[in-house]
């Protein structure tokens, strides 16, 4: 029977909560090579994807419930495998990497900061390619300056910081000790943000950006 995989944890949840998953299917778990994997069965005649938003949110709720208890490595939604043997084979192949990541991230959460420039809203017609590139470079520098200020002001809390460009925005991923996200938010408030920028902070999320070590 096909399985929908939710996430992996380091150990079985005790006591195992009565999670209800996507489409109301009960969430089950199994131990594979020292990794606990949570999944639910997908009936042969049940098609996942008919209500993508609702199913993605139900998937997210399971992750949230488990993440509230322990560190998780989530699967991307929707990860559907043909059966238990396929899931077991995949986890066995990567178990060493997952065990190490779950141990390293055991007490960690990830926050995300998205810094966006609002200049494109008032964008003037460009006279040349050179002008366009100069403006883009100036925008990029401004985003990076804000990211640096946010990083400096929260450095005393931060265990890890990674960032990447994303369509005119800068996405920063911050690794924190579990339970310190309120302190982190308070630290950020002191940073002055230029009126042409917007900064969104979300989390805590599972530390997916830090699964691979530097």
């Amino acid at each position: 029977m096909p399985l929908l995989a939710y996430c992996m944890t380091a150990a079985a949840l005790q006591p195992e909560p009565p999670f209800s998953g996507v489409n109301g299917s009960p969430v089950e778990s199994m131990q594979v090579a020292g990794v606990q994997c949570l999944f639910s069965q997908v009936a042969e005649n049940q098609t996942t994807g008919t209500r993508p938003k609702e199913e993605a949110l139900a998937f997210h709720r399971v992750l949230q419930d488990v993440f509230a208890l322990t560190a998780i490595l989530p699967f991307r939604f929707p990860t559907i495998v043909e059966g238990e043997s396929e899931l077991v084979a995949f986890i066995e192949e990567h178990a060493s990497e997952y065990r190490k990541a779950l141990a390293r991230l055991r007490d960690a959460v990830q926050m995300e900061i998205r810094i966006t420039s609002g200049q494109s809203e008032t964008r003037q017609p460009q006279n040349s390619g050179g002008e366009y590139l100069r403006r883009r470079l100036a925008e990029q520098r401004e985003l990076e300056t804000v990211a640096r200020a946010l990083r400096q002001t929260s450095a005393f809390l931060v265990r890890g910081w990674r960032q990447r460009d994303a369509s005119g925005a800068l996405r920063c991923f911050i690794l924190l000790d579990r339970g310190r996200n309120a302190e982190f938010q308070t630290a950020l408030v002191s940073v002055q943000i230029s009126s042409n920028l917007s900064v969104r902070v979300s989390g805590p999320w599972p530390a997916t950006e830090f699964v691979k070590e530097d």
Binding site: G49, K53, A56, F75, R76, P78, A166, L197, R200, S202
Partner: protein, 77 residues
């Protein structure tokens, strides 16, 4: 959702549309990959396989639109 200066803080519950986009972005775009296709049933008969990248592009575009940014220009011929 709380705001301070120009900083907006949001949690991980789908309490508003931008938080919903954050959640969808995370469940679709973050985590371990075994396979990346979504199966959609149309009229209970046909199955359409939609590459995950198509969905991600849509979310990113929607997010930009919601933030008031211009959509990418179409190619001039």
């Amino acid at each position: 959702m709380a705001t301070s200066n120009q900083i907006v803080f949001s949690g991980t519950d789908a309490s508003d549309e931008t938080s919903l986009l954050d959640i969808l972005d995370h469940v679709l775009n973050a985590g371990v990959i075994i396979r990346g296709n979504l199966v959609i049933s149309l009229a209970g008969v046909d199955l359409v396989y939609v590459g995950l990248d198509v969905i991600l592009t849509s979310i990113e575009t929607t997010r930009q639109y919601m933030q008031g940014k211009a959509l990418p220009p179409t190619k001039k011929r």
